[in-house]
Point group: C2
Chain length 487, copies 2
């Protein structure tokens, strides 16, 4: 990493222009090109990736990636329905719907249909507004939001088959996660919300695949995406957090549409001296974009939140709920709750006294108190009313948390001291919902139904769930979108 | 500057959260608040700026700012007309027009009318595509593009008066230039195209003013702008460069529309630890945003290009044309051309053998050869045909350039060696079009007419020019937009 940093400085100082050469890369020599490019660093990451995206065929995608992609899409649709009636969604529609063009894209869980660019924005917002969506743990990207929002809108317009939709989805997830890996954690620590900044590439790649872009157009699509990359972590706790995957989906789709009409961009948007990776991050690892394309699949590492708040809090919630259920705890029994966590937990969720449902998601103190008292941490625990419940507030103020570098991001230590002096300890190594302890199909369905019923009648919810599981076999993926509309 | 850098590191390391407090700031105590905030650093820059924007009244704007604003708007409309028929514009419209909503915004110089968000995008693209627009030299921001594009579209919809339009324009320019000043040059050197990244704030502020946002909504508008801030310098030489002011205009307008419906954002988007300034720049000077609001006006420093390429090349072009005209030079007379320039010139325009009109803008070698042979450097010198002209190519290959730290960005040294051994030297301290040597009204009109005739008949061009000079007195600024449509 230090090497990358010094390399950046060296290149800047010496004024060497990078990545704008135009050698063609065929699929057959992609690997050789990778090796060569790495030797004469940095590689033509943009071209290598674009070539792979264009050449990829559905039969090349292994079973495990397809399996996890269906689960990702299923979970994403459920989250869209869960967020459909949120105030954030209402306000975005109130502001923008009157500027929409042809109503070709359904807003899932609502009656509105919008043009595909606004449709992508809205479904991206709804899917993330409850902080209940999916997570690629190696980057903390929420992969489905930007990608599925873009291509369900586009797919509904085009009448795309379920197979093509799945293929584009998997390539989009691969693109955003690999670009995320290339700059994580430096990029994230700088202040960027990586779901927005990397997500726009995923949306562009997936939409570009559906539009049948050629290699040069795909390079341009990635470039137009790069030059729209945005999203600040400062927005956590406000309506703008959910705006990020929506905007990434909308702008990625826009990038692919522009590229399809030969709107030009840089040939080296990722790796050039003033391209995305050097400009948006202090460290970069190009091999994450170019290595093992088609041989490892990031979508296989996707996970689904059992709790509707930031993934970093999940080991704590899991531990709290385990102790609660095993010992039949109630608030009056408890003298004190002590948490020992990775420093990131307090950095992201260190609010002591949250006043709104949104703020509550950024308070590990509130979250652990609610988990102990309620035994769950779903959307109902993150309303403005819930956060003011006196019993929860009292317990919240008796929670203390210590940051410990020795504790990994996956694990947490919970210690509950009872009024009678008993101490209950729990070490959670991997939270429920992690790669190591994935949600079962039944748990995913319960989560889906619980959210979806806020937007649709139960019979319709069941129909949508069934369509989602069958997505690969659909002749027109628009069926899912239309089935998920409110009437 | 080094202080800022260490401060950033200190704040990051100590995990101190900045800028999210919520003290109200009334106009009366804004100045006191500035002083206090600077003492306990960093200040509430976002709130102080938003408060000023909301409270500002037209009568507070001095004559000199109004004078230069009219010239800025006049020049911007001319540039929009000049870029209206460019391939870049054609392709953007081919890709996006079919997704447009209600046709409420005219695309200047064309027959299309689009919804206001797409209208802002397109007029932003056309105004910048010839690299012929305005420049705020302290930041290299092209101020009118993002701001005027957003509010002419909105103003056409609302039937905004010329006075309100001018007021919003001046506030928008103030906002983008001050935010630019707060992070320039570090932000620019990192790789960001500041017209895009800072422009989005200007568009949001101006559109927010026209929408009558209150202080909290204006804070949110700036926040929603911050979290969309984008644009990479790597895109120079491609169609994406012109996309930046367009996208900034569109996204800034979107930010103001969302804020007008209470779509929430951070209260400290500029100054917070993970806000715009720390995330997008390695150095920051908050006082540039908060000091002397209402007492100095950045629009007064706006300048207009006499040549349709990057401002850094203008001293060279000026010197070349002066020597050419004074000595009646032609290509055959010349043995060699030697340039001595600020290092930025070669960094930005160091291409030796440009192959396209776009690339030619980034070649000081081509540019100086063309200036000597043609005596001008307008849009006609930056076509694909012009760049291949044998006589120009031959002279281009006899141009050499040396970067010299001792030469400022405003000046340049040209030395032409003739075949007979004569050496002609010219030192240009400030190029024509600079603050020191502003274009006259007549020069602006010649530039306008020269561009506009590619899109509109001469009689219509004259009508639009007259309306632009009278903009302050119009009851409906939409008159300008409608008059500038092609029929």
């Amino acid at each position: 990493m230090t090497d990358s940093l010094s390399r950046r400085k060296f290149l800047k100082a010496s004024g060497i222009a990078l990545g704008s050469t135009t050698l063609p890369v065929t699929p057959l020599i992609a690997e050789a090109a990778t090796a060569k490019a790495l030797a004469s660093n940095p590689p033509e990451a943009t071209r290598i990736l674009a070539n792979w995206l264009v050449e990829s065929e559905w039969r090349d995608v292994p079973e495990q990636a397809r399996y996890e992609a269906v689960r990702s899409i299923f979970n994403w649709v459920g989250c869209c329905l869960g967020g459909a009636r949120h105030q954030t969604t209402d306000r975005a529609i109130a502001a923008l719907a009157e500027f929409s063009g042809k109503p070709e894209a359904s807003v899932l869980g609502r009656t509105e249909r919008l043009d595909i660019l606004h449709g992508a924005l809205l479904n991206g917002i709804t899917s993330h507004v409850l902080d209940y969506d999916d997570t690629h743990l190696d980057t903390i990207i929420h992969p489905a939001g930007p990608v599925a929002s873009a291509i369900l809108a586009l797919g509904e317009r085009l009448g795309t088959s379920g197979e093509d939709f799945m293929h584009a989805f998997i390539l989009g997830v691969e693109t955003e996660c690999r670009i995320g890996l290339a700059v994580y954690p430096s990029h994230y620590e700088r202040g960027f919300h990586i779901t927005g900044t990397a997500g726009v590439f995923g949306a562009a790649a997936a939409a570009g695949k559906l539009l049948g872009l050629n290699e040069q157009q795909m390079i341009w699509a990635l470039g137009i995406a790069a030059t729209q990359s945005a999203g600040l972590k400062e927005m956590f706790g406000t309506m703008c957090k959910a705006f990020h995957p929506g905007s990434a989906g909308q702008n990625g789709l826009k990038a692919a549409l522009l590229a399809s009409k030969d709107y030009t961009s840089s040939n080296g948007a990722l790796e050039a001296q003033e391209g995305f990776m050097f400009t948006y991050s202090d460290e970069q690892d190009f091999t994450q974009v170019t290595d093992e394309l088609g041989r490892r699949w990031e979508v296989e590492k996707n996970t689904y939140k059992p709790f509707s708040c930031g993934i970093v809090t999940h080991p704590i919630i899991d531990g709290c709920i385990q102790l609660r259920n095993e010992h039949g705890l109630s608030a009056e029994d408890i003298e004190k709750v002590s948490l020992r966590v990775n420093p990131l937990v307090l950095k992201l969720t260190g609010k002591k006294t949250p006043q709104t449902g949104l703020e509550a998601k950024f308070s590990i103190f509130y979250i652990s108190a609610a988990a102990i008292i309620k035994g769950v941490a779903g959307p109902n625990q993150f309303t403005d009313e819930a956060v003011r419940e006196p019993q929860v507030v009292m317990l919240r103020d008796r929670v203390e948390a210590v940051a410990d570098e020795a504790v990994s991001e996956e694990e947490a230590f919970v210690s509950i001291v009872l009024r009678d002096g008993t101490v209950l300890d729990r070490h959670v190594e991997h939270a429920i919902g992690s790669v190591q302890r994935p949600l079962t199909k039944e748990q995913l369905e319960l989560k889906f139904a619980d959210q979806a019923q806020s937007a649709l009648p139960l019979s319709q919810v069941e129909e949508v769930m069934a369509l989602c599981w069958q997505v690969e076999g659909l002749t027109d993926v628009g069926e899912v979108a239309r089935a998920a509309r409110a009437v």
